[in-house]
């Protein structure tokens, strides 16, 4: 069905990764008539492969190549982590685009900057992204149905005086739309949506790109190195196929969207005599300023059943704490969202052993759950680097992931746990657990957009400061993390980037 391009065809744009950034960029370019080869490291599943069981699906679609350091919870499959994500799609707030101006530098370790673009500029692309993804409560799309877990969260929110919360902003169809069905409340959306109600590029952007005749997806194709010529322009991507055989796909331009760890790795691994520290890295910022949000999880053991395993894993957001209110003792803000997890994950999150742990699983039907995501400040020392000697099955240097919570994040988490405890206890919770969730599913910053080339890796279009035909198209390009879930912004930026690439090509300047 889909077009096939020759390896020697240097007119194509090569996109590395088929998730929120790469899948969207590929489709947007292909729809404009630009030829795209998309390299995806993982296999292509179908909806029939999706079972309602998190560990089975982790085996089918999780990224399990060797890594050292902090855990990162991402996918190696067509659709990338849009297969696993929960579908929460808030926009970044105006002041969050101006993080440095708003908060000031927090201390000698933080490396806050302002984004080289504003909310006003991104707003039309947010509208396009919301329409593309089918975000509930936007346009003419209804709110998401309120699950039991959401109703508990909303009732607790009222009790503590919160005003801004709703079951909107989920990229899960509340009703059938755009050829995909409405949500059946199957639960544990992170196993992948078995009916395709949740937006994933696997069954939206990728097939839409394929019918244009301008797109080829190559699965089980792991990008190893990006090549360049003696003028410093990128010329192709070397990748390993399923058998480990190396090929080079020639390219007019290359866009990298490997969900941060792989984006940093392929840039750093593409070092050469011209670029001894890796591609696009004259600033030394590739891999640095790694952000992954302040995360928290709260469980309330409620006096009567909740059955939070029934229905969409996440179904709504409380926004009251998303603002910058320094009187709380920290910079930036956070969002409070529902979450539901299976018994094993429940036990794992509360951690430890003995009756203190077991009380939560023993009373599984009475659990209510909350997920907290907040802004974390960038630090140069939080980074992805390459291990000097360890190699993986493809012979690639193993990525080393170093991340520590800033004191600002610890203070924010303490505040969020105090508030969520108050919410659940106001409704009669008999036990409460709240704490960190060091899971690493929101990855950002390692090739960030910056006005000053010395502060980052890419410009306001996600185009490398050093190499004009090299782009970054995933969360790596975020200048700062903002509070909310990153996927909507990744998609909006990819749509905007496609417009820019097409314009530059039309002007013959790319």
């Amino acid at each position: 069905m889909a077009k096939q391009f020759e390896l020697s065809d240097s007119s194509v744009v090569v996109v590395i990764g088929s998730g929120a950034g790469g899948g969207t960029l590929s489709n947007e370019l292909a729809r404009k008539g630009i030829d795209v080869v998309c390299l995806e490291a993982g296999p292509r599943l179908t909806l029939a492969d999706v079972v309602n069981d998190p560990p089975t699906m982790d085996g089918k679609m999780g990224w399990h190549d060797k890594r050292i350091g902090n855990m990162v919870w991402v996918c190696k499959t067509v659709g990338g982590t849009t297969m696993r994500w929960s579908g929460v799609t808030p926009r970044i707030q105006d002041h969050e685009f101006k993080a440095l101006s708003t908060y000031g530098q927090l201390d000698d370790n933080t490396t806050l900057i302002d984004w080289p673009l504003t909310l006003d500029e991104l707003e039309p692309y947010y509208v396009k992204a919301e329409d593309k993804m089918g975000v509930s409560g936007t346009g003419d799309i209804p709110l998401s149905a309120e699950t039991n877990n959401y109703k508990v969260m909303a009732a607790g929110a009222k009790q503590v005086g919160y005003k801004e919360f709703s079951s909107a902003r989920m990229a899960i169809n509340p009703v059938a739309r755009a050829g995909r069905p409405g949500c059946q409340q199957i639960s544990f959306c992170n196993s992948g949506c078995a009916i395709g109600a949740k937006w994933s590029t696997l069954y939206t952007e990728i097939p839409a790109a394929e019918i244009t005749g301008h797109f080829e997806l190559r699965t089980n194709s792991m990008a190893v190195k990006i090549n360049h010529d003696n003028k410093g322009r990128v010329t192709g991507v070397v990748y390993a196929d399923a058998e480990g055989t190396l090929h080079e796909q020639k390219a007019r331009a290359v866009a990298v969207a490997g969900n941060v760890v792989e984006t940093a790795r392929v840039l750093l691994n593409s070092n050469s005599s011209m670029f001894p520290d890796g591609l696009a890295n004259s600033s030394g910022q590739v891999g640095r300023n790694y952000m992954r949000h302040m995360f928290g999880v709260a469980f309330g053991l409620m006096p009567k059943p909740v059955n939070f395993h029934r229905g969409a894993r996440q179904t709504g957001v409380i926004y009251d704490e998303q603002y910058h209110k320094p009187e709380r003792g920290f910079a930036g803000g956070y969002e409070i969202q529902t979450i539901a997890v299976d018994p094993w994950n429940t036990s794992s999150i509360t951690g430890g052993w003995g009756p203190e742990n077991t009380v939560f699983t023993q009373n599984y039907t009475h659990l209510a759950g909350i997920f907290i995501t907040g802004e974390d400040p960038p630090e140069a020392a939080n980074r992805i680097s390459l291990h000097p000697t360890e190699r993986d099955g493809n012979g690639l240097p193993v990525p080393v992931i170093e991340y520590r919570d800033h004191a600002n994040s610890a203070a924010m988490r303490d505040h969020s746990i105090k508030m969520t405890r108050a919410m659940y206890e106001s409704l009669g919770a008999t036990n409460f657990w709240g704490g960190d969730a060091p899971v690493g599913c929101h990855n950002m910053g390692v090739a960030r957009m910056s006005t000053n080339p010395g502060d980052g890796v890419t410009n306001r279009w996600g185009q490398a400061h050093d190499i004009e035909n090299l782009f970054v198209s995933d969360g790596s390009a975020f200048s700062t993390s903002a509070a909310g879930n990153p996927t909507l912004t990744i998609v909006a930026l990819a749509i905007r980037q496609a417009d820019h690439i097409a314009e530059r090509m039309a002007q013959k300047s790319l």
Partner: protein, 173 residues
Amino acid sequence: MNDKQTTRRRLLITALAFSGAATTSMGTSFLGSAAAWAATPDDTENLAAMGRLAQLLFPHEGLADSVYGEVISEVLAMTVADPATEGLLVAAENALDAVHGEAWASLSESQQLSAMTALQDEAFFAGIREMVRFRLYYHPDVWMHIDYPGSSKEHGGYINRGFNDIAWLPEEN
């Protein structure tokens, strides 16, 4: 290793990382440390004692002892399938026995618990704890015991089966 064992090992690593038991090394430090025990031969005589350990780790009132026995047998299978964890259960029992200077299995519950507390920061303890956690909380009898029904896909999800049936909250909308 076959695919299933590979998946189990991955899940163990995931479990360690997710629970914060291995915050800096994604579980590989545990596996590396455990390799030191690999010279110890496995035997099945300590399974009863280790079943008791599983029960004290995650004590569910009313859950049959046999479930903990099945879980620890599965954990044994996981450990012997991997050179990095082979011998772990025997090593664990030896360490538990050494705390009070007599067989851990014959101690009172409070002494058993104090021995566990004394060893809870050891890498092998975290390893066994996470393997037990994984096998126990995917055991069908445990799901039944805690009224978790498992996959809902084949039942059409919960759209017509109570996803929004809560009725005890104040100011019900």
